[in-house]
Symmetry: C2
Subunit: 229 residues, 2 copies
DNA sequence: CTGTGTGAAGGCTTTCACAGCC
DNA sequence: GGCTGTGAAAGCCTTCACACAG
């Protein structure tokens, strides 16, 4: 598995470069660190609005809900950004994190499945603020799915594959019923999608090069209910 | 921190009992195992519908997207459920997992913040199927928030605390704007809520006895965008 | 003296290897 | 022979302790 993973896609080459060339972009940053970088970035954004110039690891970590050592360790994965005795430059650190996360440019995203949850997400708009644009939505039934207040075009599923190819879409949000999730995921991957944010209550089986993040509301609730007495 | 955690609420007493009495219910099952138990349960449900009597760890694990050794290890945390050379009894295993997750009884849940995302979740209904009932929703502005097709009553925030106390609500879904999330969380906790499913893009600072699961759409997308080249 | 950077230690989770039962 | 149960090993992530820079 470790060996296989290395050879999956161009992983092996990248690992090689990483070790000898020390990149400032992508490498073997732990998965959990990546998540936290997004959180740090948010806090930094807020700090910037308040006009703060610098921030200590202690302050930033507390605001992000982690320990300060954790924050410092997280940052060392891609360089040294602080000034000892002073802290971090808010602006510079935010820029560095944004670069590492690969969010410098707007990523086009599509949404598949314009049901209750799907249309809510379309309206929700919390994505654009963070550098994503949902460029289109797809559904098998676009007749009954026509909320007037949504600006994103809702197209028929049959146009999905061509759209992905033409626009080079790599990110998809999947909000279809669980029963068709796997099949739709297969189509997405065949068309060139590389990462899927899956809201469908189903386990997606995908090639190793594809990344899937699952958001399952029922499972989150079940998990919580275990911890309440 | 470890010592403090032990004394938080009745943790110390429970730890003591666990060590010497060996409970079949709740104990130190790893957090990640709890998540997977929910997934196993789903797969078992589907198997039951197809009429299958038994299932091997290999088959169940594959369907759940994990390795078979992982599945078997997960199950040993709360007993022995298989028959060597044969596999697991579908019915019995499902019942055992449901028991461990503490989902024997319907958990009343409230939703706070009836905006786009909140109302979508109310309509979504994916919870009820899994043993949860959203008994009420709350919002600071119930005038403009009156979708006619939602059966769950939407009440004014001022009634929230009393409602939680009277009904003994322990689980809450938080779909308010990030700017007020901490304040609303404080109210929920003061009223007796023990676990929060937080959709607000904010880091909640809560006492150690409170459990928070965060679902942050923007962060999930950012995370994916790191992995696409 | 304040606050970052980091090797080493510790803790948690997954995987392995194989003993044991049907 | 087939398949589960599990101690031990490996891997990953977090925390500690402290060197070191401003």
């Amino acid at each position: 598995m470790p060996v296989l993973a290395l050879f999956g896609s161009y992983g092996y080459l990248r690992a090689f470069l990483v070790r000898f060339h020390k990149p400032m972009h992508k490498s073997d940053i732990p998965r959990k660190t990546i998540y936290r970088l997004s959180i740090y970035n948010r806090v930094l954004q807020r700090l910037r609005e308040t006009g703060a110039q610098t921030v200590s690891s202690e302050a930033l970590a507390t605001a992000a809900g982690v320990k300060s050592t954790q924050l410092r360790k997280d940052l060392t994965y891609f360089g040294q950004w602080g000034t000892r005795g002073l802290g971090y430059n808010v602006e510079a650190l935010a820029k560095a994190i944004t670069g590492v996360l690969g969010m410098a440019k707007l990523q086009p995203v599509i949404l598949v499945g314009a049901g209750q949850l799907g249309t809510a997400l379309l309206r929700y708009g919390g994505f654009a603020k963070e550098g994503f644009e949902v460029v289109a939505a797809f559904d098998a039934d676009i007749e009954t799915r026509r909320p007037r207040d949504i600006k994103v075009p809702i197209l028929h599923s049959s146009k999905m594959t061509d759209f992905i190819r033409e626009r080079g879409v790599k990110l998809a949000i999947l909000t279809v019923p669980g029963s068709v999730a796997q099949q739709v995921a297969n189509e997405l991957i065949a068309a060139g999608v590389q990462a899927i944010l899956n809201f469908a209550p189903a386990v997606l089986h995908v090639p190793e090069r594809i990344v899937v993040n699952n958001v399952d509301l029922a499972i989150e609730l079940e998990n919580l209910s275990y911890f309440v007495k």
